[in-house]
């Protein structure tokens, strides 16, 4: 059975050197993006695939197909899961994917979100979703770049 080495929430999904750093840190060899909008957009997929280093596999799924895929990874897979929003990870967990930890890497400000921690913002709904992820037994931490320490979010949600 393969292994999920990183599960990360980031609006930007794959982006340049940030991804290179996380690949090195986690030892991942297979990036799985779970995002419906991206999965349905061939052009977007081809732009994203340009950002993936040589030798690293990439799949893009909606949440249903993503959950199926993640439940039967091949043995040598070290998977990095990327999604834009917390909701996606809650759906994966509810569909039976076991996640020890989810990290928040990038949730930028917009008109619906308010400041959550430093440069991380979240809507009320997203906060509720994060609480549900935590109560399902998955750790949730803010961890922007590997070199920085991670921040537990339990206190931030109260």
């Amino acid at each position: 059975m393969g292994e999920i080495v990183l599960a990360r929430i980031d609006d930007r999904l794959i982006h340049g050197q940030v991804m290179t750093a996380w690949l090195q840190y986690s030892g991942g060899n297979h990036i799985v993006i779970v995002d419906e909008e991206t999965a349905e957009d061939d052009f977007l997929k081809s732009v994203i695939s340009m950002a993936v280093p040589i030798g690293i596999k990439l799949n893009v799924f909606n949440d249903v197909d993503g959950a199926e895929f993640l439940k039967k990874m091949s043995d040598d897979d070290k998977v990095i899961i990327l999604a834009k929003v917390p909701e996606t990870f809650l759906k994966l967990i509810e569909a039976g994917v076991v996640l020890k930890k989810v990290i928040i890497g990038g949730m930028g400000a917009n008109q619906d979100r308010s400041k959550f921690y430093k440069n991380i913002s979240a809507t009320e709904n997203e906060r509720e979703t994060l609480k549900k992820i935590i109560s399902s037994g998955t750790n949730v931490k803010i961890h922007i770049i590997p070199e920085q320490k991670s921040i537990d979010i339990v206190q931030l949600l109260n």
Partner: protein, 140 residues
């Protein structure tokens, strides 16, 4: 006149335009966009599309970003389906030699493809190392 957009991580874009203007003077039809910590990536993408449209005066727009496959470049890339009908080129790995070349060349030419190629060429050629240069000249 060909428009120029510089979009980067942090304030590099502003800084590059500031440096270029110090050398070749104040520039028209030029915009800079900085992606800073905590900014929404969707809004940044919208700003890029708006800037390209605003800078389009018929001759096209040259867009410069800092890193291949990083967010500013990616936002320009994924804007393509929204910008059909606009004439623009997107160069990444911006440096001052290429920026100055593009800003200067657009004063005498409206050929976007030619300026794009010359900016890339000058950008590449602008990367030099002192001791290698001395060796080339057989000074050491």
């Amino acid at each position: 006149m060909i428009g120029v957009l510089i979009a980067t991580h942090g304030k590099m874009a502003e800084g590059m335009l500031d440096s270029a203007e110090l050398i070749i003077g104040k520039q028209d039809n030029c915009k800079v966009l900085s992606l800073c910590h905590g900014d929404s990536i969707e809004l940044f993408g919208e700003s890029i599309r708006k800037a390209i449209i605003d800078l389009s005066q018929g001759d096209g727009v040259l867009v410069f970003t800092d890193l291949f496959s990083a967010s500013p470049y990616n936002q320009v890339a994924i804007s393509y389906p929204h910008l059909k009908g606009y004439k623009y080129r997107s160069i990444t790995g911006v440096n001052l030699p290429m920026l100055i070349e593009a800003l200067s060349a657009r004063m005498s030419s409206d050929e976007l493809d030619i300026i794009t190629e010359s900016a890339i060429k000058v950008g590449r050629e602008g990367i030099r190392e002192f001791f290698s240069e001395l060796k080339k000249k057989k000074i050491i």
